[in-house]
């Protein structure tokens, strides 16, 4: 099973590519930075599902899950563990 750190590393690359901004830290606030808007969110979630082979439940998502790569990585690890 992929570790949280491993997921974070892979996700840093994916998010940076997706939003066309270098995300240097897993803790950076993507929303306050203005990196994630609603259209980018849709694209990003689709890419995450494709690359990590998970089905993300929108109803269970909290805003803090989306704030950072670290938050998104926790969601992926949780979904993979289901």
């Amino acid at each position: 099973m992929q570790t949280l750190n491993g997921v974070e590393r892979q996700l840093l690359t994916l998010v940076s590519k997706q939003v066309n901004v270098a995300i240097e830290s897993a803790e950076m606030d993507l929303i306050e930075m203005g990196v994630i808007d609603s259209l980018a969110l849709v694209d990003l979630l689709l890419q995450i599902e494709k690359e990590f082979g998970v089905q993300i439940s929108l109803a269970e998502l909290e805003i803090d899950d989306l704030r950072s790569v670290a938050g998104l990585a926790r969601v992926i690890v949780k979904e993979k563990g289901k």
Partner: protein, 274 residues
């Protein structure tokens, strides 16, 4: 459901706000200017005998074009929002060659191969099904039919989005944000070229993008907020006023000496008989 297609929030909201939509403040806003610029892209010629406006709204452009061209030209406006359509029917009542009917990009109420010229101004991004819509456009146009579509692109309004997204995330859940985003289809120029190229080929088709920054006051920009209301209807009413105030405060921080900027990313799909 209607005709097998779910009635969506955009259509319902445009219908509900049809009167507000026609107010001078909205028409004079930057989006009014974009609409007028887009109308200048419409290129009617003598050979166009059947002309269609998809998403004609309250029929302003139809009435204008009908007043400028021969009564022999048959104009058909297609509009899914019932109250918009009613205004459009009344506005064009003096032109017997104009008809305004129910329909949408995904299901055009027109015979195959019947249209000489089709245009649409700031409506295509509201389609619910890109492939089906383009397929419908290709179906209704005559083999030598021509077309101009102007609609917003992927990078529209970046300044506002950057400022307002953190606010919306306070009042909307991620699921609500995704639902709101799914109401509009904002394409890059590459995506639009690929989409329309599949249906029309590349020799008759061109897809161009443009960026234009409009400056206005906070109130001036707020006047066009009616245009995006459909994406905000899920915000609980008890916090809606608070949300609006927070959005206005966020937008106000963009103020410059020229006013508050808003950059429109416009795509223009142009089909011509060669």
């Amino acid at each position: 459901m209607r005709d097998g297609i779910a009635v969506n929030a955009v259509i319902e909201t445009y219908s509900r706000l049809a009167i507000e939509y026609g107010e001078t403040e909205n028409l004079d806003s930057c989006w009014g200017l974009v609409a007028r610029h887009s109308l200048s892209l419409v290129a009617l010629e003598d050979k166009h005998k059947v002309v269609v406006d998809v998403g004609c709204g309250a029929g302003r452009d139809l009435a204008h074009l009908a007043s400028c061209y021969s009564p022999d030209v048959r104009f058909i406006g297609i509009e899914p929002a019932v109250n918009m359509r009613e205004i459009g029917i009344n506005r064009t009542a003096n032109y017997p060659n104009v008809k305004v009917v129910d329909g949408r990009f995904e299901k055009l109420p027109l015979e195959s191969g019947s249209v000489d010229y089709l245009y649409s101004i700031l409506a295509f991004h509201w389609t619910t099904d890109l492939d089906k819509s383009v397929s419908e456009l290709a179906r209704v146009l005559k083999p030598a039919g021509e077309m101009d579509l102007a609609f917003i692109g992927r990078y529209n309004g970046r300044e506002f989005i950057r400022k307002t997204t953190p606010v919306f995330f306070k009042y909307m859940t991620p699921a609500m944000m995704v639902e709101a985003a799914s109401l509009r289809k904002q394409l890059t120029v590459e995506q639009a070229s690929a989409l329309f190229g599949k249906a029309f080929g590349s020799h008759r088709l061109s897809v161009e993008e443009s960026y234009h920054t409009y400056y206005d006051t906070l109130e001036g920009h707020w006047a066009w907020w009616v245009r995006i209301e459909a994406q905000l209807v899920n915000i609980p009413q008890v916090v809606r006023v608070e949300c609006d105030q927070a959005v206005r405060a966020a937008i106000a921080t963009l103020e410059t000496e020229r006013g508050i900027p808003y950059t429109v990313h416009l795509l223009h799909v142009r089909l011509r008989d060669t």
